[in-house]
């Protein structure tokens, strides 16, 4: 049976909301939980030590815990925070850029690559596997055809590197030095008043024909439609995918986890629709189409 994971929270939530969320998540049927701030260096509701305490609590509840690093590293301060996660030996690290990979390698720490790491071929996986890579996420823009080839080639090379697939949630698509939330409020990034806290699932960016294109979330841009690969779970299992990643949302997440758990156990048909929050579904990337497309609806 495939594992379920909860990816890192991509949004900015208050400290209490984060604690409440993980208190519930401790009871959910997910095997792995990724913890840490991966989007904006100004988001410091939780300090590195708070994340580490939370990691220990969740580990005590029987979860595999992985510490996730910031995706866009811009300064020495960002590197200092990164080292805090990459210079411990209690937990695995999800490296979200080459800086984290480098620091993890130097410290002999095992790591997993996150979906924003450019893993497009097995030669790349081989290089990292020699230096501590123990798992990897498929980049979000790649689909099942490429994944199937990658898994097959890994086998040929005798490499046991579990593959994880971002399977539910708004897709992280881009990171900038500019903050689009601050820009919306005409605030400078360095004095943003932490407006992201008012938008626990981002801000909708629509075309002038009201088409939901993207979600603005601080310096990151996410998909406007929600990626949903629930129907693909049987296919993923057949291909040898190890872990199905669900991306945290502040409402309805318990329902999402429950349904994915039922589907992976074969208790309910994969084709049953799951409609929770107002957002159109998409799955185009999985089929090698534009990411926003919905195939087979």
């Amino acid at each position: 049976m495939m594992n379920l994971s909860l990816g890192p929270i991509l949004w900015f939530w208050s400290k209490q909301s984060v604690f409440d969320f993980y208190a519930k998540a401790a009871e959910w049927p997910v095997e792995t939980i990724y913890l840490g701030e991966v989007v904006c260096s100004r988001r410091r509701e939780l300090k590195p030590d708070d994340w580490l305490d939370l990691a220990r609590d969740l580990k005590a509840c029987g979860k595999n815990v992985v510490l996730s690093t910031l995706t866009l590293i811009e300064s020495e301060a960002d590197l200092r925070r990164l080292r805090r996660f990459c210079e411990q030996d209690e937990f695995l690290v999800e490296a979200n850029d080459q800086s984290a990979v480098q620091v993890a390698i130097r410290n002999g720490l095992k790591f997993i690559t996150g979906p924003s790491m450019n893993i497009y071929n097995v030669a790349t996986l081989n290089i990292l596997a020699r230096q501590g890579l123990v798992g990897w996420n498929l980049p979000v823009e790649l689909g099942k055809e490429t994944l199937e080839q990658l898994i097959r080639e890994l086998k040929t090379d005798g490499l046991d590197l579990p593959a994880e697939v971002f399977s539910w949630g708004f897709l992280p698509l881009a990171w900038s030095s500019r903050c689009f939330t601050a820009r919306h409020y005409n605030l400078p990034k360095d004095n943003c008043e932490f407006r992201c806290l008012e938008h626990p699932d981002g801000m909708e960016l629509r075309s002038r024909e009201s088409q939901e294109l993207f979600r603005i979330n601080g310096i990151s841009t996410l998909s406007g439609s929600r990626y949903d690969l629930m129907r693909e779970l049987p296919d993923m299992e057949r291909m040898g995918v190890s872990t199905v990643r669900l991306s945290p949302e502040h409402q309805g997440m318990d329902e999402v986890v429950k349904r994915f758990d039922q589907v992976r156990r074969g208790e309910v048909p994969a084709a049953d629709p799951l409609q929770l929050v107002e957002a159109p579904p998409c799955n185009g990337y999985w089929y090698g189409k534009p990411g926003m497309d919905l195939v087979g609806a």
């Binding site: 080459q98 800086s99 497009y120 900038s176 030095s177 075309s207 009201s210 534009p290 990411g291």
Partner: protein
């Protein structure tokens, strides 16, 4: 500081070389490079001619193979590296770790530059590429402020090249999937952003509309000048207001920063624009040549001539330029 200019065609290459480029960069006529445009780029014969021309005039030539090969494309991308090597280029610009590894092992004597698509924004990331693939130089993404560039430069294990002029990517390059979300092509997979095949223009009663795979990117009123619908430069609606929610159509221009870049020890400044005409390349290259000559002879007395800026503004998107993320307030 070296001036590195784009060459999307043999005439553009000659134009860059004739107007003072220390080095030019080109790609092959396929999706192995990040500027895949119909009718652009080089086959082996044209590349050989270009390299001969540049070398005869003392300019160096770099070959960009800076997209990310998937299993299906692996042989084609590897072959591209071998082709560049046998053509005798002075460096190969690469992004993919697998391909960097291949180039380092198969052609160790040809210098490797890390493409901006490699997305290295810290000295730790640069050290990763140096340790693993012995890169000589890296092109920094356009997301760092000048202070941050200073931080990277201070500890960098390799030469640094920074963007000086041209279209402005405001997302961290090499990790932007916006284009493949709306179309089926991205810079990483196909060397294309907002590809021309997906663009449609339409006159409507509301004005001229630009669409990308049917998604409305912008609509222009009377008297507004219309630009290419690069998706991050469209006008969108956020909470009831319609504006350039991501970025305006402007170009990057860092002439003003030249003395500081020199003081930081930056090795080269890069001009974007392999999709541009030979005439454009001539104007941009000669302007930057003059500026670099002046900053090299007398960095303390450097001042930007207004003629330079007006030339560059005339060649910019929307006639506007910015120093972009180099200036912290832009963010």
């Amino acid at each position: 500081m070296e001036l590195v200019c784009p060459a999307g065609s043999l005439p553009a290459l000659k134009s860059a070389v004739d107007n003072g480029a220390d080095a030019v960069y080109f790609g092959f006529r396929d999706s192995t490079n990040a500027r895949q445009f119909a009718g652009l780029n080089f086959n082996d014969k044209r590349a050989a001619e270009g390299i001969e021309y540049a070398h005869a005039k003392g300019s160096r030539v770099f070959c960009a193979i800076n997209t990310y090969p998937q299993p299906d494309g692996w042989e084609q991308w590897k072959t591209a590296v071998d082709r560049a090597a046998s053509l005798g280029v002075d460096a190969i610009i690469l992004a993919d770790m697998g391909l960097l590894d291949y180039a380092a092992n198969k052609h160790p004597d040809i210098p490797r530059h890390l493409s901006v698509q490699g997305s290295a924004t810290s000295h730790e990331a640069l050290s990763f590429y140096k340790d693993n693939f012995d890169i000589r130089r890296a092109v920094l993404p356009r997301v760092l402020s000048l202070d941050q560039v200073r931080g990277v430069a201070k500890h960098s294990p390799v030469e640094l090249e920074v963007f000086a002029f041209g279209s402005l990517c405001i997302m961290a390059e090499g990790r932007c999937y916006l284009s493949s979300y709306l179309t089926d092509e991205s810079p990483n997979t196909r060397g294309a952003c907002s590809p021309a095949k997906a663009v449609r223009w339409q006159e409507t009663p509301q004005g001229l509309e630009s669409r990308l795979n049917d998604v409305l990117i912008d609509r222009y009123g009377q008297g507004e000048s219309a630009g290419y619908p690069t998706l991050c430069k469209g006008r969108f609606e956020v909470e009831g207001s319609v504006y350039h929610a991501i970025e305006e159509p402007v170009s990057l221009n860092t002439l003003d920063l030249l003395p500081e870049l020199k003081a930081l020890g930056i090795s080269a400044v890069k001009i974007e624009g392999r999709q541009r005409s030979p005439a454009y390349i001539a104007d941009v290259a000669s302007t930057w040549r003059q500026a670099l000559n002046r900053v090299q002879t007398n960095p303390d007395q450097f001042s930007v001539e207004s003629a330079w800026n007006s030339t560059l503004a005339g060649l910019s998107e929307g006639g506007l330029t910015t120093i972009g993320a180099y200036h912290r307030k832009w963010k």
